[in-house]
């Protein structure tokens, strides 16, 4: 039996970055907000203090902080002709779980995407002609521009205290920053982090190669910082337990450090944890959300009525919730009709590992998730693509992040995987290797999409999400080009042996590549080809707003969190300044 609870103004599904930001902004605007989170409450001192977080087996290998596939997973196939099978153990990507979401266990790379990203289709046609677009692409502009988002990027960066160096201040290129970035109104809130050995060498090599290296924008703190909510962060200690771990000393921006301390003080806010939302409830005509239904851990079902529903779950699970709720029309790859599930994209990765001669002490364990040097010369449309034959590009970066030895102890090519020779090679090389990697854009294609699986179900009996995806030739070319740059860089750094890191077969769900899955509930200017309008408001059910990377029509060569955060501030601003004054569609359909 479903128990009906008293109504609230806003129900927020998922209490990660976007859920916490939007909850706080709307609570401060006077609305009663209930946030419902599938996973547990998580807090620094109890759940990931320094004394327990420096545990590679538990967090990096056994994936303690992540969603357990037993609770929910998805099925996967490379193409529509295959039978999708469950992802029984996470590999290629690692969905988060619990309060704070991926904001707990991210590395903290906090980017603004390029102005080009938001107009990637029209800009590509303008420069190279329509024939230059890859076959079967579903590229489309976002319906929003970089200039519109700029103030909200600024808000997110100042929420987090991002450490970095501006490359473009109001149109003036700045020495030491990224000359390819869009114009920003002011400097980063805090100066860049200090560099460790490998990035120091990469920066020098990149300059020698004629590239434009700059410090990675980092949510690990270069110094103490206090944000506008009064929340404080401490300086990063370069412990090397960042990605896949919670930060034990308050030095990584996260909902825990930046938002929740202020949010819980709002008397009109309440969080319910370990409650899984199974459906957004709709009015009889399907044009209005009436709230959500959720299950608590004892299996009891509750209905939480609300005037407004914000979907702030992880990208994949936001899309699944739309499909389970019957909001919008599911995408059909055969006809190209429908919107929910289309434009799924991923990122393409690769790189080079160098082995350096002589007595070296890279000390890879002296690291932070975001400390490093990046080159943007080969990303997006920052270079002339006429000769390379692909759309998009990649950032090239040396960001060591850690030296944790279960997963990170490279040996030269040809070394046996065990035995005395392996042992000697491991001993000799651990402290003299450095890697440079790419993070490449992925365009949307007709056959890459999300829908509900016909066979496999979660423990509640609801169908799992099904992912159909493979890399296309455009992205493979892009990767080859990017990995070649990495090899140049590692050689310029002085490596005498180099491993080329490039997965050449079909997209493989097993090796970790990136947790930057995008699309499926994309924003746009046309209800026929997008799920939400430019204000992240559902075309079909106007009191449902969406957040997160499911909004992205394509995936770029940068980490998504900066854009995820900016869009959350952008959407909540539209709710507060426009929607509350005149509830209804903010863009005529």
């Amino acid at each position: 039996m479903t128990r009906r609870l008293p109504s609230t103004d806003v129900v927020v599904v998922g209490l990660g970055w976007t859920g916490s930001i939007m909850s706080l902004e709307l609570a401060r605007a006077g609305l009663n907000v209930v946030a419902i989170e599938r996973g547990p409450w998580r807090d620094t001192a109890a759940d990931f203090p320094p004394a327990t977080s420096a545990d590679e087996l538990r967090y990096a290998v056994r994936q303690d902080l992540f969603l357990r596939p037993a609770q929910e997973t998805l099925t996967f196939r490379n193409n529509i002709s295959q039978n999708a099978l469950p992802i029984r153990r996470w590999g290629s990507f690692l969905p988060g779980n619990g309060v704070g979401g991926a904001g707990v266990h991210w590395n903290g790379h906090t980017w603004r995407w390029h102005p080009w990203d938001f107009t990637h289709r029209s800009s590509t046609i303008e420069r190279y002609g329509a024939d230059f677009l890859p076959p079967d692409n579903m590229m489309q502009d976002w319906g929003i521009t970089y200039d519109e988002l700029e103030p909200f990027y600024d808000r997110f960066e100042y929420l987090c205290g991002i450490a970095g160096k501006a490359g473009n201040l109001r149109g003036v290129i700045q020495e030491g920053g990224n000359p390819f970035e869009g114009p920003r109104q002011r400097e980063y809130p805090t100066p860049p982090m200090r560099l460790t050995q490998a990035p120091t060498m990469f920066e020098k090599a990149a300059r020698e190669l004629g590239w434009h290296p700059f410090p990675n924008p980092s949510a690990n703190m270069s110094q103490a910082y206090t944000n506008s909510y009064g929340c404080r962060l401490a300086p990063c200690t370069y412990c090397g337990f960042c990605e896949r771990f919670g930060c034990g000393n308050y030095s990584k921006a996260s909902p825990q450090t930046c938002v929740l301390p202020a949010l819980v003080r709002q008397s009109n806010f309440e969080a319910r944890t370990e409650c899984q939302v199974t459906k957004v409830n709709l009015s009889a005509d399907g044009k209005r959300a009436t709230g959500v239904t959720y299950r608590d851990t004892s299996g009891r079902e509750w209905e939480q009525p609300a005037e407004m529903v914000l979907l702030c779950a992880y990208q994949l699970f936001n899309v699944r919730l739309l499909l389970l709720s019957g909001i919008g029309t599911p995408y059909d790859p055969r006809t190209g009709e429908g919107t929910v599930g289309r434009n799924y994209a991923y990122q393409i990765t690769g790189g080079a590992t160098g082995f350096f001669p002589g007595e070296r002490h890279f000390n890879p364990f002296v690291a932070s998730g975001s400390e490093g040097i990046v080159v943007d010369d080969f990303n997006d449309d920052n270079f002339d693509h006429t000769q390379v034959g692909f759309v998009g590009g990649s950032s090239v970066a040396c960001i060591p992040t850690n030296g944790r030895p279960i997963l990170n102890r490279p040996v030269p090519e040809g070394t046996l995987r065990w035995g005395s020779a392996w042992k000697r090679a491991t001993h000799e090389n651990y402290n003299r290797t450095a890697s440079v990697g790419i993070q490449g854009s992925v365009m949307p294609y007709r056959g890459a999409y999300l829908d509900l699986d016909p066979t496999y179900k979660d423990p509640l009996g609801l169908p799992l999400l099904r992912l159909t995806f493979d890399f296309q030739e455009n992205e493979r070319k892009l990767r080859r080009f990017g990995v070649d740059r990495c090899i140049e860089a590692v050689r310029a750094m002085g490596a005498d042996r180099v491993i080329r890191n490039e997965i050449t077969g079909p997209y493989d769900i097993v090796p970790y590549q990136s947790t930057h899955t995008t699309g499926g509930a994309i924003m746009g200017a046309d209800p026929k080809t997008s799920v939400v309008n430019k204000y992240c408001q559902s075309w079909d059910v106007p009191n449902v707003f969406m957040a997160g990377a499911s909004l992205f029509p394509m995936n770029a060569g940068f980490n998504p969190t900066g854009t995820v955060g900016a869009l959350a501030y952008w959407a909540v601003d539209a709710i507060r300044e426009r929607y509350l004054k005149a509830p209804g569609p903010l863009v005529p359909a």
């Binding site: 545990d55 295959q82 370069y238 364990f365 944790r404």
Partner: protein, 246 residues
């Protein structure tokens, strides 16, 4: 450690020894203040040093011998046997890793493509039990009635090499897949925190120069490309924490 709050979620690390047997956690409402309760911490459980929780003596002897060939003792340090890799694997198999509690284990289980990853119907504890039985039978029947751990080092290496290549011919064993599981677990045991039973005396960390569960390397930013000299430390400390040891 006491985790007294009745509403506290039933988080047990996948690394923990015993499968989750606590009552289902209550959904929890949070408002007004950040929750906190005295003494709350979730470290891995303290290990009992002796005995086997999952392996039989014979299984333990075989796995110990395998670990010692995958990571042999030599002038660079202890091998997998002395490092406690078998103890590590035993404790892992006795816990939620061994039972795949955290994984999606609902069927059907048809064969997939390599890109679709793990589709094993059986969890690691059963895979170990069956694989070790098959290897024992092979040694008994094909190698003169012996046991894996009584083979010569050369014979052990040859058998492991054949398993890795998928050419061992051991009846009833998907040798390549088991070898991958074994190699992964032995390496985990050699490099994971000593709290889990392997990496004794932090021998794995000393092999590479990893300082373990340290959380502050700021001073090294002034000493780039110089050796790090502080000794490794585990989740449960290091000898210098005890006065008598000095």
């Amino acid at each position: 450690m006491r985790g007294r709050s009745t509403s506290r979620r039933h988080l047990l690390a996948a690394t923990a020894l015993v499968a989750c047997s606590l009552p289902a956690a209550q959904a929890r409402t949070i408002r007004g203040a950040l929750p906190w309760s005295a003494g709350e911490a979730y470290p891995p459980p303290r290990l009992s040093a002796a005995g086997w929780l999952f392996f039989t003596e014979a299984e333990a002897a075989a796995v110990t011998a395998m670990a010692n060939r995958l990571i042999p003792p030599d002038e660079l340090g202890a091998g997998g046997a002395e490092a406690g890799c078998a103890t590590f694997i035993d404790r892992q198999l006795a816990g939620s890793f061994g039972t795949s509690d955290w994984l999606y284990m609902q069927g059907p289980f048809p064969a997939g493509t390599p890109q679709q990853g793990l589709q094993e119907e059986h969890p690691p504890n059963r895979r170990y039990r069956e694989a070790l039985a098959a290897i024992a039978a092979h040694c008994r029947e094909k190698m003169g009635g012996r046991l894996f751990h009584t083979l010569s080092s050369q014979e052990q290496d040859a058998l492991l090499t054949a398993m890795e290549a998928g050419t061992s011919g051991i009846a009833g064993l998907r040798d390549k897949s088991f070898f991958e599981l074994l190699l992964q677990n032995v390496m985990e045991g050699y490099f994971a925190d000593p709290a889990y039973g392997g990496n004794r005396e932090m021998v794995g960390w000393k092999l590479v120069g990893f300082p373990g569960a340290r959380y502050d390397f700021r001073e090294m930013l002034d000493r780039l490309d110089q050796p790090y000299t502080d000794p490794p430390v585990g989740l449960f400390g290091r000898p210098a924490w005890t006065r008598a040891a000095q």
